[in-house]
């Protein structure tokens, strides 16, 4: 995974947030590299990747942001369970959409969801930990990418 590949994930994030509203308001800040994967917010959806690449992709967001997205989806339930479900679904969508560029050998798992403290994920050799800040409606989420 290199800096160019990260653009694929920036595109998938832009597409997802553009699907939510007529006037997209997502502002994506330049990705940065961290020694450890993070930062993690209240809700984190984790996707394991195998095949063409190995590692993890995470989407992590605040409950407030997830609540707003549920509202835009016209979801009547804006509770803990719905937020857990949504954060996993967003992680799945952002990862699965990357197959448009990486192909079907880029295999993704079903999402795992962690609420609260960030998950303990083992570091793979040869992977850099990218964090892509996603600013939307005064809240910030992160798309975290750590792939070999």
């Amino acid at each position: 995974m290199n800096d160019q590949d990260i653009n694929v994930f920036i595109s998938t994030a832009r597409r997802y947030f553009a699907s939510l509203e007529e006037r997209p308001s997502l502002v994506i800040e330049p990705p940065f590299v961290r020694e450890k994967l993070g930062p993690f917010l209240e809700y984190t959806g984790i996707i394991g990747v195998s095949g063409r690449s190995r590692g993890v992709i995470c989407f992590t967001a605040t409950g407030k942001m997830l609540g707003e997205i549920l509202g835009l989806l016209k979801e009547s339930r804006v509770d803990e369970e719905a937020k857990r479900d949504l954060v996993g679904e967003i992680a799945n969508t952002l990862s699965g959409n990357a197959r448009e560029e990486f192909g079907s050998e880029f295999q993704i798992s079903v999402p795992t969801v962690v609420v609260g403290a960030g998950p303990q994920l083992s570091q793979r050799n040869g992977s850099r930990n990218y964090a892509i800040p996603l600013n939307w409606h005064s809240e910030t989420a992160y798309l975290l990418v750590a792939l070999e």
Binding site: R15, S19, E75, T93, L94, N97
Partner: protein, 119 residues
């Protein structure tokens, strides 16, 4: 008409149900994985099925194979985040009637659904 919505996300299942907005649907069932979908379909033989691919227990493409064994004429609309040509072609070859990518575009969903209804 009976509709079966298969997706491991309850938020997405409800979004699909709201998005279809068809007066022709009289009964809607939901399943959260392929195994549950097969059980429900064997019981009720729904007229239309929307089917996710990345799911626990049994993925959507395995489920699609089994649905086609039960009824080769089943109308199945795949709705998946897997946005690659190979997966779409494979699903169509296995018998799917259509393939939509997530995030779901409500206009595309309604259009795809109307096409299935008129088929």
């Amino acid at each position: 008409m009976k509709l079966l919505i298969v997706d491991d996300s309850s938020v997405i299942r409800r979004a699909i149900e709201r998005g279809i907005e068809s007066g022709e649907i009289t009964e809607v069932d939901q399943a959260e994985d392929g195994e549950q979908a097969i059980q429900l379909y064997a019981e009720k033989q729904h007229d239309i099925i929307t089917l996710d691919i990345t799911m626990p227990k049994m993925d959507g493409l395995t489920c699609l194979d089994q649905l086609m064994q039960i009824n080769p004429e089943a109308k199945v609309l795949i709705i998946s985040a897997l946005r690659d040509r190979t997966t779409a072609i494979r699903a169509i070859k296995q018998g799917a009637s259509g393939f939509l990518c997530k995030p779901i575009n409500p206009d595309e969903l309604r259009e795809a659904f109307q096409l299935l209804l008129s088929d």
